[in-house]
Symmetry: C2
DNA sequence: TAGATTGTTAATCGATTAACAATC
DNA sequence: TAGATTGTTAATCGATTAACAATC
């Protein structure tokens, strides 16, 4: 077969599949069908099969998917089968929360450096990491082979931090600040701004006392 | 015109428009065209015009959109023109971070109660709020008219907390735990799991030493 | 008036779903 | 073998984009 591009929608579902599969694995489930996965995720089974089939023939007709094998394969696809070092700028509440989440980002992906522009914050210890000053960013990214930068600073400082990460040579950025950032094409940027989720959630709330499901405009 | 449903993709873009418009407003920009908005957001101008036109005729031909007026209108659409109380369960690092973000969730949307199952955490003060025990959840949601619940507890406890929120009568839930939750149809649930964003970001990183933009499979 | 830009229809594009032969 | 379930093609659905008349 020839190379082809996988759509973002597909890639975005892979971590979700992984989540459910890890859960099944923990509960010693050996095999799962696209039907069962679809039930758990509220997705069409055909879509799940199609998503997985982009990357290979992972299932067995009449049987389903071997849970452990599929976990291994998805981890390979997401490149989680190799070490991936992450740096974080902004040692505030959110930054500290993410550092402590480190256990959740299974094995190979790891926050290995934390930076903060505030002199008073430098030297503090967060989950075993000593907070570094911003002027150490460039060299630390190189030394520790950091390939992803996480931004947890206020919106006004986010672009500046992004520029520093780009200069230092990271390949991807995850931005938690509620602002759009400009980065060169070769750097991939994802947004994790919960305010977007929260505000769009407000749209769907019924007026108090209402009962209907439909969202309407007249 | 007759009632019709607005797609999720459209609703999800509204908060992003609001973000950029607020920024323009702060910089005293009076008027903006769909072209300019499109440049800032990397979106097609026609898409922006179409999105806004679902809700009304907010622009002026030959001129563009009045920034203040459009902000007002989008806030109305998202129901941010009325008070909306939010409760949060899980006073860990992430929960505390969100409480401190309170200033970001402009004016009307506000975290007005924080709960935690840990007795040692109860009574602690977070950004002016005293942490309440879980058995106060039901009555507090009613008393303070809380309509959205935020979940920032570990994955294993998330479903239980969601059930409590549902029983207490919230209309929407924002879940930060990396797990899929089951809620009745009349409760709207949104996910703010950053691990999904982080793992899918890993997929797009070039292998070290590579240079090309294309993501391929063979 | 001439230039700009909206609101909207029609065309295009892409993603989801249904259906089914292959096969475990 | 009979039942189950994949991988994949074709059909459907929905979202994005282009184009342009209306009009400021």
């Amino acid at each position: 077969m020839k190379p082809f591009k996988i759509s973002e929608a597909v890639v975005r579902r892979l971590p979700v599949y992984l989540q459910v599969l890890n859960d099944l694995h923990m509960r010693d489930v050996q095999t799962v069908s696209s039907q069962e996965l679809g039930n758990k995720l509220d997705l069409n089974p055909a879509q799940i099969r199609k998503d997985l089939a982009y990357f290979g023939d992972f299932g067995r007709k009449g049987i389903g998917y071997d849970v452990s094998y599929l976990i291994e394969k998805i981890r390979q696809i997401l490149k989680l089968d190799q070490p991936l070092n992450v740096g974080l700028v902004g040692a505030g509440n959110l930054g500290r929360a993410l550092c402590n989440y480190n256990t959740y980002l299974k094995d190979n992906m790891k926050i290995t450096a934390v930076f903060d522009a505030h002199p008073s914050m430098v030297g503090a210890s967060i989950n075993g990491l000593s907070v570094l000053p911003m002027d150490k960013l460039q060299e630390t990214v190189a030394e520790r082979n950091i390939r992803i930068g996480i931004i947890t600073v206020p919106a006004v400082e986010a672009q500046n931090v992004a520029d520093r990460f780009v200069d230092a040579g990271v390949a991807g950025i995850l931005n938690f600040a509620p602002t759009i950032l400009r980065v060169p094409d070769h750097v991939r940027i994802h947004y994790a701004d919960f305010t977007t989720e929260l505000l769009s959630l407000a749209y769907y709330l019924e007026k108090e006392g209402d009962d209907e499901d439909e969202t309407v405009v007249d």
